[in-house]
Subunit: 150 residues, 2 copies
């Protein structure tokens, strides 16, 4: 009792406009909601046992302790690892077409892969990257082999 | 090409003090790093194919476009679903003992479960909750059954 499992089940983003979030993530990116309660919340599956939720920022603040939440950009990045540089460029282009803002165009990354960043309409950053050192086993264990930089 | 998969592989939190992050998440919570590069970054597995990274906030900002990141509290919450109310209380107590701050003590939640929130040393919020409507299949698909409120 008291030990916290090493596990994230849900990431909730607090947004000022839930309809705009729905337009971007569902209509724009074409993602499918696990549960969509108009005017309330949208849950989207983004991994094995993992949901992303978009919820009104004021509702989220009130659910915690009422402290107002900071405006964007939050000190975090969501990331997706893809396999090819073409995919990095394609996903960034698709995100821009869906209403995202390209913050860093696709380019070689300091860690040895290739990456770029976009922001969703609320300023949450998504990194799209290849990472030749990132390996996921069949049972979901991730290993990272750091690549020596030239 | 251009379609973005509905998938989150990595969540990076930008923190002002990486050593303090290591003390909280590794020493305090007892979590194990997948990759720990002192002074640089810590990666922690938090799900099937999913890593949490803690990285210097300034490094993260510089990696994107240089825009300074907002101070806490960010408009988001990480969450972990547990099975019992005792677990909610136990995890919150454990997080407090590890250096977290209880923002909302364990209590019945509006959605029909039981929950509480703590903040890590940098103000990132973690919700610990039971949710009787949250089900994960063997292959990782999450369904949410909304429970009618009394």
């Amino acid at each position: 009792m008291g030990a916290m499992d090493q596990r994230l089940d849900l990431l909730t983003l607090g947004v000022p406009d839930l309809d705009e979030a729905r337009r971007f993530y569902l209509d724009g990116l074409g993602w499918t909601a696990t549960l969509d309660v108009p005017g309330e919340v949208v849950f989207i599956q983004v991994g094995h046992g993992l949901l992303l939720a978009v919820w009104g920022a004021q509702d989220l603040a009130a659910d915690v302790d009422g402290t107002p939440l900071s405006p964007a950009p939050a000190a975090l990045a969501l990331a997706q690892i893809v396999q090819t540089e073409d995919e990095v460029r394609g996903v960034l282009d698709g995100a821009a077409a869906a209403g995202g803002t390209i913050l860093k165009p696709a380019q070689p990354a300091a860690f040895g892969g290739y990456h770029g960043y976009f922001a969703d309409p609320f300023g949450f950053r998504w990194e799209i990257a290849t990472n030749p050192g990132w390996h996921v086993s069949d049972d979901g264990v991730v290993t990272i082999v750091t690549v020596e930089q030239p």
